[in-house]
């Protein structure tokens, strides 16, 4: 749809990086409109994972960014994370992938997929590179209506810095799922390491997290069906020849030709979720569940969520640690012979952070595996500190 489209303006993140002296070397491949978990839904063809001989998924949707960092084409890459699209590729490609708290980095110039979840993310081989870029990009931008306002940024900034020592680390009982033995082993190893460094481990629960995945697949396609309604071929982008003459069509052929199969699947799902018959039972309910999930996370964390105005009882957990994906990356062969819907479950351990707007980083731990550190909204520095304490092995 946008293959030959060139934006006439620059996004805020690119401007900020350029001003800081970063060299931009190119654009990376990704799943079309950020929809996909294996980078196989691209009009440029799939991206391959540089760690594997056999053609293997680099993860998606920002798979090109992760592969470029893993292949040492660049030190740092940007991606967007709506349901795990930065963290999953980071895990599959054994690099760091950071999704900051929602609203900290400007989305101005970011093509919207589902903007109540969309977050600009950073990929790198070192935590310090992630931190460096994050500090450049963590700015209020009046052009982005979801950019966290300067007052709340100040509140966050003046909050006493928590040192990453003797932390109470939580493991979500909802994250204890069936997973590959090597992932399970990596998780146990990380938790042991952290304990050795003086942190304590506690099992905690976010009961509604079991509905996170269905909630995500109600909300994100619905927003996508709205955001992608603008791609009609009239003002810019691809347009089907049949829509140009008097065939009594205007958009349908353009959108059928211009969108790939995964985008079409999600647009149909989203269109249905917003239809008069489904809105109440699907979309509206999903928004309610999303709120409950957020509240349950708030009750868990020791620091208060600055976005919540009312007082509430906080918990005693500083950060959560669990795997990014349940398995190492699948081969392209396996992907091509599977059901496309199967891969939706890849997001099960990443989407809750998007639904709640939390900062989350995937830390490489062995080949094709990543461990996530999550923190309370605004505790981005703490999350980065903990990530730096976990060895890559």
């Amino acid at each position: 749809m946008l293959r030959n489209y060139k934006s006439p303006y620059e996004s805020s993140v690119v401007t900020l990086l350029k001003d800081e002296g970063f060299n931009l070397i190119g654009k990376a491949n990704m799943d079309e409109f950020a929809m996909g978990t294996n980078n196989t839904f691209s009009c440029f063809g799939p991206t391959l994972n540089p760690l594997y001989e056999e053609p293997t998924s680099p993860g998606g949707s920002s798979g090109g960014s992760a592969a470029a960092v893993a292949a040492e084409f660049c030190d740092v890459a940007l991606g967007t994370d709506t349901g795990g699209s930065v963290r999953l590729p980071a895990a599959y490609c054994s690099v760091y992938g950071f999704k900051p708290s929602y609203g900290l980095i400007s989305r101005y110039g970011v093509v919207s997929y589902a903007q109540s979840l969309d977050t600009v993310g950073i990929l790198a081989r070192e935590v310090k590179h992630i931190a460096r870029v994050f500090h450049v990009l963590n700015q209020y931008d009046q052009r982005d209506p979801t950019s966290l306002c300067p007052e709340l940024r100040q509140t966050l900034g003046s909050r006493q810095k928590k040192e990453a020592k003797g932390l109470r680390i939580g493991i979500l009982s909802q994250a204890i799922l069936e997973m590959s033995p090597e992932i399970k082993k990596a998780w146990a190893g990380v938790l042991e390491d952290l304990q050795d460094q003086g942190h304590t481990i506690h099992t905690v629960s976010v009961p509604t997290m079991k509905y996170a995945l269905p909630t995500y697949f109600m909300v994100s396609p619905a927003e996508a069906s709205s955001n992608l309604a603008r791609y009609d071929g009239i003002r810019y982008g691809t347009r089907a020849e049949t829509d140009r003459d008097s065939h009594d069509t205007l958009y349908a052929p353009t959108r059928t030709e211009g969108f790939g199969p995964e985008v079409q699947r999600r647009l149909l799902l989203g269109t249905f979720n917003l239809s008069a018959g489904a809105f109440e039972g699907h979309f509206k309910k999903a928004l309610m569940v999303r709120r409950i999930i957020r509240d349950e996370f708030n009750a868990l964390f020791a620091s208060k969520n600055v976005l919540v105005e009312e007082d509430y009882e906080t918990g005693d957990i500083d950060v959560l640690v669990h795997p990014t994906a349940l398995t190492p990356p699948p081969s392209l062969d396996k992907i091509n012979h599977g059901d496309p819907i199967e891969h939706y479950t890849n997001d099960v351990l990443t989407v809750p952070a998007n639904l709640a707007g939390l900062p989350a980083i995937s830390v490489p731990r062995g080949k094709g595996a990543g461990m996530q550190v999550w923190g309370q909204y605004g505790d981005d520095e703490l999350v980065l500190s903990v990530a730096a304490q976990i060895s890559k092995q």
Binding site: S7, S112, S226, L228, R230
Partner: protein, 483 residues
């Protein structure tokens, strides 16, 4: 009429008179060349985002306060989806789930009708007002539709009334009254012909299903379409048909079906996921109410009462022209009275009928010049004939933009030698001539028919071209006729 009961409700879209658009900083312009007032956001380019223009909110709140609505302390925006070339993003940002204002009213009073007698006061309840984006304009040229995005994302308020209007005429009067109110407050220019204000009407008969008539571009179209639709529904009811809810168009004579309920569109409303909730301070509506000028109804009350005593129809004309004219009137009236002018009714009379009635120009004489003219006439320094000539002269200067500050009434009187002459021998000579030329009238006067003097007066006035006042002429004639 015919024992059937009519009920009308209106949906009015009014463009907000702000410098910039609703969710972008593009300037609004209604006469700019096509597609020259379009930002990346307006054209729905990927990656662009909305930014709420709080000036639109200020105007919307002003309208809500003037219409006695309850304003929500916090509200948000929703997306209404439909794909059409005039809707670049594929959705319109509106307030479907939570309009910012609910439950107001506007009273249509007897005096609001052009013939006030016999009309009851109708309270028209306002169901809700919402803020939303305007669409682009589609222009059809030789079967090709061309899209002009200038209007895209201009701020609108949509105002929905309850079905409280009992006649087509009352609906027309309501629309006019609303136009005057919004114009008065600077919320909207009220122009229907340019589409700055657009009206859809809902018509139901005998509490049956309602039909919506779309795109009525003038007050008279509103009245005529309601009448035609009322008659159509009565015809259908009386011939045993069932009225079903549908959307209809108007061709100037008849309404016609655009689409029925089965063709209704599922707009897939969704709360906008990126626009923040707007929160208002508790005091904002009170603050706006306090800073609002007197509303048209109050101004009208003031004008028709002492000391002004302006005839209702003239007061309405002044109000229709806008506060600039009302203020001009009040200033002129004050100056006239202060200068010892006696017949104050000439101030509104001359302003409404001899100025506004004569010219479309927006250029105005100063209050001083205009009032000086009336005072000179009131004091008999010039005749009313001369005063009319001077006013015409002023209109001419205004229209050719030559009404400079050095133009004074005194300078015009001197320039054209229009001052009232002292009664003199020359007047006597003209009068004697007129009497001689009209022996019949002179004889009738002499035989006791005093009215006959008016004929001679007219002839003399014509001959002297307003050099002398009627009183001077009359006394000279009477003196000569007695001899």
């Amino acid at each position: 009429m015919s024992g059937h009961k009519l009920k009308c409700g209106l949906e009015v879209h009014a463009q907000l008179l702000t410098k910039q658009k609703l969710f972008s900083s593009t300037s609004t312009s209604f006469h700019a060349p096509p597609n020259t007032r379009v930002s990346y956001y307006d054209a729905a380019l990927p990656g662009t985002q909305p930014r709420f223009n709080y000036d639109c909110l200020r105007l919307a709140l002003t309208a809500a306060a003037a219409l006695n609505c309850d304003v929500k302390r916090s509200f948000s925006f929703d997306r209404k989806h439909y794909m059409y070339p005039d809707q670049p993003a594929g959705y319109q940002i509106t307030q479907h789930f939570e309009p910012f204002a609910m439950g107001g009213f506007l009273d249509v009073m007897a005096r609001d009708y052009s013939k006030p007698r016999g009309h009851p006061t109708t309270r028209v309840n306002i169901k809700q007002i919402q803020i939303e984006q305007d669409t682009a304009k589609t222009i059809y040229v030789d079967n090709v539709s061309q899209v002009d995005l200038n209007r895209t994302n201009t701020g609108l308020i949509e105002l929905v009334t309850e079905p409280d209007l009992p006649t087509a005429e009352s609906a027309g009067v309501f629309v006019k009254k609303l136009q005057t109110l919004l114009r008065h407050l600077g919320v909207c220019n009220g122009e229907m012909e340019t589409g700055a204000m657009r009206v859809d009407v809902n018509v139901s008969v005998d509490d049956g299903e309602r039909c919506e008539i779309k795109n009525l571009f003038s007050t008279s179209a509103v009245v005529a379409a309601i009448k035609a639709e009322f008659n159509r529904q009565i015809r259908d009811i009386e011939s045993g048909k069932v009225i079903s809810s549908e959307t209809r168009g108007w061709d100037g004579k008849e309404t016609w079906k655009l689409r029925g309920k089965e063709g209704s569109i599922d707009y897939r409303y969704m709360p906008d996921p990126e626009l923040p909730v707007v929160r208002l301070p508790d005091s904002i509506v009170e603050k706006i109410r306090r800073s609002m000028p007197a509303l048209p109804d109050q101004v009208l009350d003031e004008l028709v009462a002492a000391p002004y005593n302006v005839p209702l129809v003239d007061a309405k004309t002044l109000m229709d022209h806008g506060m600039r004219y009302v203020n001009f009137y009040r200033d002129s009236h004050a100056l006239f009275t202060k200068s010892g002018g006696k017949k104050t009714s000439i101030v509104s009379n001359w302003l409404v009928h001899r100025w506004l009635g004569q010219t479309e120009t927006q250029v105005f004489p100063s209050v001083q010049v205009f009032t000086d003219l009336l005072i000179a006439m009131d004091k008999g320094e010039i005749t009313s004939t001369s005063a009319k000539l001077i006013l015409k002269h002023l209109v001419g200067l205004a229209e050719s933009n030559e009404l400079t500050p050095d133009v004074t009434i005194k300078s015009i009187i001197d320039e054209f030698d229009l001052g009232t002459a002292e009664a003199d021998d020359q007047l006597d000579a003209v009068c004697a001539g007129v009497i001689e030329e009209n022996p019949d009238a002179a004889n009738r006067y002499r035989s006791g028919k005093r009215n006959a003097v008016s004929f001679l007066l007219g002839a003399t006035m014509k001959a002297t071209q307003g050099t002398y006042s009627p009183a001077q002429v009359k006394s000279a004639l009477e003196r000569l006729l007695k001899n």
